[in-house]
Amino acid sequence: MNTEVLKGGFGNAPVDAAYAFRAAMKAMACPGTVEVLQGAQPPAPVSVAAGTLLLTLCDPDTPLHLAGDFDCEDVRAWVSFHIGAPVVAAEVSMFALGSWEALAPLSRFAIGTPEYPDRSATLIVEQEVLAQDGMALRGPGIKDSVTMALPETGAFQMNAMLFPLGLDFFFTSGDQVSALPRTTKVEVA
């Protein structure tokens, strides 16, 4: 048995998860801000921040999609032991983890229904870096406007037009996280 898989969970789950959630909530409430997210030591290629998000938000109730390189033996075993989320196809997932390229096309994911717009997927997008320049963001949680580097513009503009339906995104890199909910209007700065 590969005992590496048993490592990398929270040391003190209630407290680590509490701090992690607050960072994730701050990121989602204030799009464009970068928060530090630590606690997990997931196997490669999953970043510390993405692994911590999974430990904080996912459990056997949340079908998870692993896209591209992230769908490997090590990650599946780690998710299975620490989280217990069923690994599923994109169409039926509540959470998805992968690179921007691997998560495409986004039309595969659930965007909620008019009566229940909350029944939509949350995508965790792994990036090389989280840079705070590039696109201009406006919307709830942003005082005037902020800038943030995004993998592309069109997809997020399309997503915002679906409001109140749509996808919500976390971006992770190393131990950093930022977020982009469906309400944020993205423009080329």
């Binding site: 789950a13 209630p14 407290v15 998860a17 509490a18 701090y19 959630f21 607050r22 994730a24 909530m25 701050k26 989602m28 409430a29 204030c30 904080t56 938000l57 996912c58 459990d59 109730d61 949340t62 229904t113 008019p114 009566e115 229940y116 717009p117 909350d118 939509s120 949350t122 709830p140 949680g141 942003i142 005082k143 409001f163 109140p164 919500d168 909910p181 469906r182 309400t183």
Partner: protein, 293 residues
């Protein structure tokens, strides 16, 4: 250390609540269903707010709990003690010193900051519930953005009373989309909802969570010829002399004696410590001085 898991709830429950909070922040004003748990206090005592607070607290937080603006009422004291015991967090009565404020029916007078979180206790989260009892229907009305009935209700207020008589739980529209119940805060507090802090709403019995991110557009419903007005008792606080705070009317005796005091106890105390004095406080201290002489 206590025998409870940190902040009372088990981890799976907290994850479920946390997911609902995140979806609530992503869809401001929309009521996210959640599997509300039984809490060791009766419904109507803030079980929704308590669950949201429990899922949001960290050991580094300082918690303030207010009930109708007061830190020292039964509901506030018992919830504060609950979290002192089950989460071991620091508590305070000072608005400025708190990182999380759980509130029943008021927004503090002092402006909140970006690093603060306001958690509301909500009895009936559905603003259309008293107009349409069926959940299936109200859910459809929200999905179709069919809010005519609410305007008819406000219009009937005007037809009957000459003005919009709704004085608390005054409906708001969030980001031009969802009509939301701001919980039974006085309409005086409605304009404060466009604030820098994160606002979370928990309804335990009704099993709904909703949220407002900072700087979210929150507009009180009204008509061009009957604009919304944030009203309060036309008086100054008799204790601290404040003219800008929401006031409670307190009956003092059987012969019509009354006084108006700030409902926000921390705001009133702070002003009095800074040397401000209202009419009745001044009269009482003058009388006290006379007897001393």
């Amino acid at each position: 250390m206590s025998d409870y898991n940190f902040a009372y709830l088990d981890e799976q429950t907290k994850r479920m609540i946390r997911r609902a909070i995140l979806k609530g922040l992503a869809i401001p004003g929309y009521q996210v269903p959640f599997a509300s748990r039984e809490m060791p206090m009766p419904y109507g005592w803030g079980t929704g707010g308590v669950q949201v607070s429990a899922a949001t607290l960290t050991p580094a937080d300082t918690l303030k709990v207010i009930d109708q603006g007061a830190d020292d009422t039964t509901n506030a004291v018992s919830i504060r003690k609950f979290f002192e015991k089950t989460a071991g967090v620091a508590t305070t009565e000072e608005t400025g010193a708190a990182s999380i404020i759980q509130t029943r029916h008021r927004i503090p007078e002092e402006d909140l900051r970006e690093d603060q979180i306001l958690v509301y206790q909500v009895p009936i989260p559905e603003p259309l519930r008293f107009l349409e009892p069926s959940e299936i229907e109200t859910r459809k009305m929200h999905s179709l953005e069919e809010y005519g009935l609410m305007h008819v209700k406000l219009y009937e207020d005007i037809a009957k009373h000459g003005a919009i008589a709704t004085s608390y739980a005054y409906p708001v529209k969030v980001e031009g989309r969802y009509v939301m119940d701001p919980s039974p805060i006085p309409k005086f507090d409605n304009p404060k909802m466009e604030m820098a802090a994160i606002q979370l709403f928990g309804a335990g019995r009704e099993q709904r969570i909703y949220a407002l991110p900072p700087y979210c557009k929150v507009v009180s419903l009204d008509f061009e010829d009957f604009p919304f007005e944030a009203s309060k008792a036309d008086h100054a606080c008799d204790m601290c002399g404040a003219t800008d705070s929401y006031l409670d009317e307190v009956i003092m005796d059987d012969s019509g004696g009354r006084m108006f005091v700030c409902s926000d106890t921390d705001y009133c105390t702070g002003r009095r410590q800074a040397g401000h004095m209202g009419a009745q406080a001044a009269a009482a201290s003058a009388a006290l001085e006379e007897t001393a002489v």
